[in-house]
């Protein structure tokens, strides 16, 4: 891992196309500006991890499909 020191207002450039700018530093929080071509999908890591865990937790089982079936059937009667 590359570790760099930067001050407020300074930036780094990745591959001559992505610029990461330190816009403000307050206590333990840093605001970062990112300029990147549109093909780069930029997300907070915890969001990606959350989607990953939601996906893994969504694998259908025969039991879960039965539950859904029961719900759909009970709803039809209403």
């Amino acid at each position: 891992m590359l570790i760099l020191s930067r001050k407020r207002g300074q930036s780094i450039i990745i591959d001559r196309q992505i610029e990461i700018i330190i816009t403000s530093i307050e206590g333990d929080q840093v605001k970062i500006g990112i300029k990147a071509p549109e093909q780069y999908n930029i997300v907070r890591k915890e969001v990606l991890e959350d989607v990953k865990s939601a996906n893994s937790g969504s694998i259908a089982t025969s039991g879960s499909v039965d539950l859904l079936k029961a719900w759909v059937e009970s709803n039809k009667k209403l």
């Binding site: 549109e38 093909q39 999908n41 930029i42 997300v43 969001v47 990606l48 959350d50 989607v51 990953k52 865990s53 939601a54 996906n55 893994s56 937790g57 969504s58 694998i59 259908a60 879960s64 499909v65 539950l67 859904l68 079936k69 029961a70 719900w71 759909v72 059937e73 009970s74 709803n75 039809k76 209403l78």
Partner: protein, 145 residues
């Protein structure tokens, strides 16, 4: 209606389903449970399948904005060519089930190419309550007993 038209189709996700990068091909099939639900069954791994539903069933005013890159990757010519699916997380009791509105699956219904997309600048949840808006939170009470 579009879902029905694609019933039995193989959709190509190119490893974009997050956490399942090794899986590319999925068949969209009726769950057998009826209703608006479909199963997205991995062709490469028979143990992996997801229940999906149109997010528009859930929130009529659901809106997404796709990056130019995704539009290009899917070769989408217009929004009408897109089918949007949300993965359902079924829980017991079923009223705790949720639907992922933040990271929908977007499919070009003509060429069957799809991607899971994480939306940015939206307040949609990864775990929005599946039934609250449909049922008013009362109809499924009988199921629990």
């Amino acid at each position: 209606v579009t879902m029905e038209l694609l019933n039995g189709s193989t959709l190509h996700f190119a490893g974009s389903i997050i956490g399942f990068d090794e899986l590319n091909e999925f068949e969209l099939i009726e769950t057998g449970a009826g209703g608006p639900f479909y199963t997205l069954q991995s062709i490469e791994n028979p143990d992996i399948g997801f229940i999906v539903v149109s997010p528009f069933e859930h929130i009529q005013q659901y809106e997404i904005s796709l990056s130019v890159d995704i539009v290009r990757a899917l070769e989408l010519e217009s929004p009408e060519h897109a089918l949007v699916l949300s993965i359902v997380t079924l829980k017991e009791p079923i009223n705790e089930s949720s639907v992922n509105l933040l990271a929908p699956l977007v499919v070009n219904r003509d060429n069957k190419m799809g991607r899971q997309v994480i939306l940015s600048n939206t307040a949609y949840s990864v775990r929005a309550s599946l039934f609250s808006e449909w049922t008013g939170g009362t109809d499924h009470a009988d199921l629990e007993s």
